[in-house]
Symmetry: D2
Subunit: 352 residues, 4 copies
């Protein structure tokens, strides 16, 4: 931590900062520049608020942190990539994984049909929402546990592991019973109680970036989950909110490349929410491969013009199959490949 | 809802839209402009997804909503201002209310001392956080129920009603037992389960705007609470996230004036979080009065350089008292006044 | 300048940074923290690119500037407020100045009529655009010199000094012949050639903040003008571009309070462009007084529904007069007052 | 244009709108919905301000434009892709073009050395700035005409056509004498006089997107150039300004895919400014190919730690060559290829 003093401060104010640092068990090193005095604070920070506290003192212009605030999520803590295995699929091992399915689960038939189409086109993980965050209280908010059952049926039929969103602490146990991967949505990236809770569940968690979440806040949110013991966190870039309204969000692909550098966690890309327009999903999916993402999450629906949510950004089965086909050559051009699909033995049609 | 078709679409695509509208029990009115066909959809919308669904159809350029998506929160539904009475204080009746206290509750003595200072300076409501949302899992996250007890002690001592944040569905009952007003923080503005839950509690709720929340989304979040039966919602503008980093957030005072026009709900301003710098709190507090806010929420701490959170934006008791004094003449210049403080009879020193 | 090294860098990389600093005539002071080495660079920076250069070196994590990049515009350089006198009006002396007029000059009659109304209502400076920046090449772009003549006629009639925008280096001489204050529009805040040029003109310059201009960039733009010798710069906050679309821009009033702290230059507020809605102009104008602005710039039009530009944010004469009346009590509540209007002797009706 | 009336407006206000439309030679078609009256305006818009004018009228809630505001730049006007030929290189024909060079031209040797390296690595167009927009007046602002001469020498030596920025109307003639492509920088995207001027020059223009420029404003800026007769416009996405500070800007790759749909103009990507970090340039360059960009502009410098500007985002020669090599397989995977380099006959070493 560096403390920058205002120009021309009297010695008494400098001393006060040195005293306050000492009170917090930190050693202050004075360094007088041409215009300003800078105090470097050395020692193990026990009180995480000391930075703000110093910042309020008379004569202090600013306080600059030196260390990164996350530990477990950072490459400094763990240099090698984290690989997560789920239902026969490996995420983060260099191969490219495709997660797909409808925004909302609408019925068993709807889910099973979609699962077959996703599997047939080469997808690896099936998505589908049973609990839906909706801006309006009057919109369709999902089928709840009934939806989870349809999801399980679709898994049995297709052999694909399933991912679904959990929105509330009180639903974590229920959702974890059905899901292979728990999804934390963008609006809940800083729902800290929920992060604590999924940190105690023995299942991988996919953590979406918040609409206005900085990369640092996002990695700190992952840190919440990891600090509770669950180190299987998959990050998902899904677009940030900016002034541009021609797309639903601004998909920040550079964040993917940067996160690969800062963190060992796998990171995937959601071009459906990231753009809000199905026509842009395929080009952005290819770009996600090219930038180094570990995978993709896209919305697929048998009839987007009848979807109960997010139809505008959903691919038809045909468009989804075409998109997956277009990813293979790009992957290979970068010495990568699409991940192998889960083994056929995982399918259990008897369950349906 | 208006459906704008692309230029030069064949009649069959127009017909498909008309058919889809009919399926949703809406009547389509065709209107051919110089370049484009526009279809007006008339009828009571039962399916809230119909707009998105139409948007995905071939030949459709865009779909434009006409009605506002919120009802109960809007002035069209209730033209007269909502006035909320809590602990002898009236919020939204034209007078100006000051809520103040520390970011985090640190001890009973800390809370009681602050309460006395807030009351003495002319404040109306006491704030203090027992459950704290923190970006880092390693930061101080509040004292929990112990903190709530200190808050209750401070209320008994000062006679001021208290407001405190609730972050999780499972804590609502506990917090509601101690608090006079429940606060929903910015990060939880779209925690829909939590909104549902506080919508069932017979206590006023203060709903902060999210860092990237549009005014429409904010009013829809209020609608969530109101739709469950709790119509006592106070809005709180606390700054939005923009590209500017010289202040912690960008306090959007125009939003206050606009919300007063769109909604009947009271709205207050939080210049502490809105700016992140205590020196800016007083000028922005005065501006909040001038723009028509119903009140203020500010952070006050006996020793900001020892605060367990948000010290940089906290006022000392002296600065707080000076700020409150500066608000009276501005209020009077606008034919308003500071609200009367709660009656002395509310104080119950015996409890402490 | 502080150079933060990555964790665990070898000594050779630290030495390379010290050598590179020496090459730039700076002395490097090493300070080893618990996790990272920090190098403080001391000396007079001659090469402004040295910071970026160091930032590219192997082992360097980041480089943090300590000094503010602007000099002439800062309070450290000149602690006392700059006061600008123009046409009998003093700007920045603690009183509040109102600049008003139409967005575009449409005709002599239009301009003279508006000038009379502005003067009668208590305004101090007349605005009107002869050169208009417009997003579309097909929109009305102003009357050019003819418009400037109408502006001069309106000045003669009303006695009010006039302000008008200059958009191009080649127009500076022409515009300076007619205008009392030159306006640099938001889109030209970083048109550096234009800043250089108005820096050589012996007339005050009003510099609007860019749509995405940080406060630091804005003060650096002022520095461009001042570095050429023209120290009479008035800053104007006119709203920044954010994700919120309910208002045209987000008016950043905290920036006004902060700039008063960082700089000695006068700063005024433009709530017309800042909100884009005439109904919000009056409340935000009052807030501008309350936050400490030195004045206001607003759009006024005899018939906003027939304006050639920006009608939606223009006040009628009646609304303008009501707004000015509402500012007096707020000013007085803060021990300020509206500035005296320019003396009647400045009027020269014979010219018209 | 659609005019949405407020709920419950009296007939006289509706009539006033119809009258105002008639005055502007537009026909108003009334359509009464369940809650609101909507008026569709049909006819050729002569007065581009009519939309704003109507928006100010009593009882009008909002006015919604139907037609796109740009014409010449849109696909509706010209469905087939525009292909621009310059110095033996074709831009926009489906192949991928690489423009590279230093941010600032520093000396003839510096420029010629870089040109050789760019050509040897497979680059197509040489960039280099002689006039530099800099936030601070104290930073290096370029060599001016001397720099242009070095650029010409580098062209003669390498055979590569050259692109360089022009910042002011008064420099257009000079710059056009040396450059093969004129660059309009991000800060000048809405410098309308400059757009007018380059619209009259018989050379291609590369138009960068502004830091806060919407896609619509960007295409309107292209329209300015085209409306003057110059239809050879190349768009360049270089990142927008958002709340995220971990990268210099947020590179909006989805904008590239969307612009390919809206416009026939070629569009390239600048990952150097888009990210501000040289490590992110290669992954984002590959992503630009994948998303369908027509080319790339990147910064290359022999010694980035000694660059006079933008060293942090510049590639060394080795990194540049590695990047170009990585683009070929990605292009081929998408049935594209890197464009052929200009013919050797264009080299004229005698000039140097």
């Amino acid at each position: 931590m560096l403390v920058i003093m205002e120009t021309g401060v009297p010695p008494v104010q400098v001393q006060a900062v040195l005293d306050r640092l000492k009170e917090a068990n930190l050693e202050g090193h004075l360094s007088a520049g041409a215009e300003r005095i800078v105090i470097g604070a050395v020692g193990r920070v026990v009180d995480p608020e000391i930075r703000t506290a110093i910042g309020t003192m008379t004569g202090v212009e600013s306080v600059i942190p030196i260390s990164r605030p996350y530990k477990l999520a950072g490459r400094e803590f763990k240099p090698r990539d984290t690989i997560i295995e789920v239902g026969g699929v490996r995420i983060g091992d260099g191969s490219f994984v495709v997660m797909a399915g409808p925004c909302s689960i609408e019925s068993e038939e709807h889910m099973v049909t979609t699962a077959r189409a996703v599997a047939a086109a080469g997808g690896h993980v099936l998505r589908g929402g049973a609990f839906k965050p909706r801006s309006s209280p009057y919109a369709f908010r999902g089928l709840g546990e009934e939806g989870l059952k349809h999801l399980a049926a679709a898994r049995a039929e297709s052999g694909l592991p399933v991912i679904t969103e959990v929105m509330a602490v009180e639903d974590v146990e229920l959702v974890a019973r059905y899901a292979d991967i728990l999804q934390i949505g963008a609006r809940n990236m800083q729902n800290f109680n929920l992060l604590d809770e999924v940190g105690c569940v023995p299942k991988p968690v996919m953590l979406k970036r918040a609409l206005s979440g900085t990369i640092e806040e996002w990695l700190l949110a992952a840190e919440y989950i990891m600090a509770r013991g669950n180190h299987e966190v998959i990050l998902c870039e899904r677009g940030i909110r900016t002034f541009e309204t021609a797309t639903r969000n601004t998909l920040d692909l550079a964040a993917i490349a940067l996160v690969k550098d800062l963190s060992h966690l796998p990171i995937i890309c959601d071009p459906s929410h990231g753009t809000g327009r199905w026509k842009l999903v395929q080009p952005m999916a290819r770009a996600a491969v090219a930038v180094g993402a570990d995978g993709l999450m896209v919305e697929v629906h048998p009839r987007p013009d009848h979807a109960l949510s997010d139809g505008a950004q959903s691919l038809t089965f045909e468009n989804f199959a075409a998109m997956v086909r277009s990813l293979s050559p790009v992957s290979e051009a970068l010495n990568r490949r699409l991940a192998p699909q889960p083994p056929a033995s995982r399918r259990d049609p008897s369950v349906v």
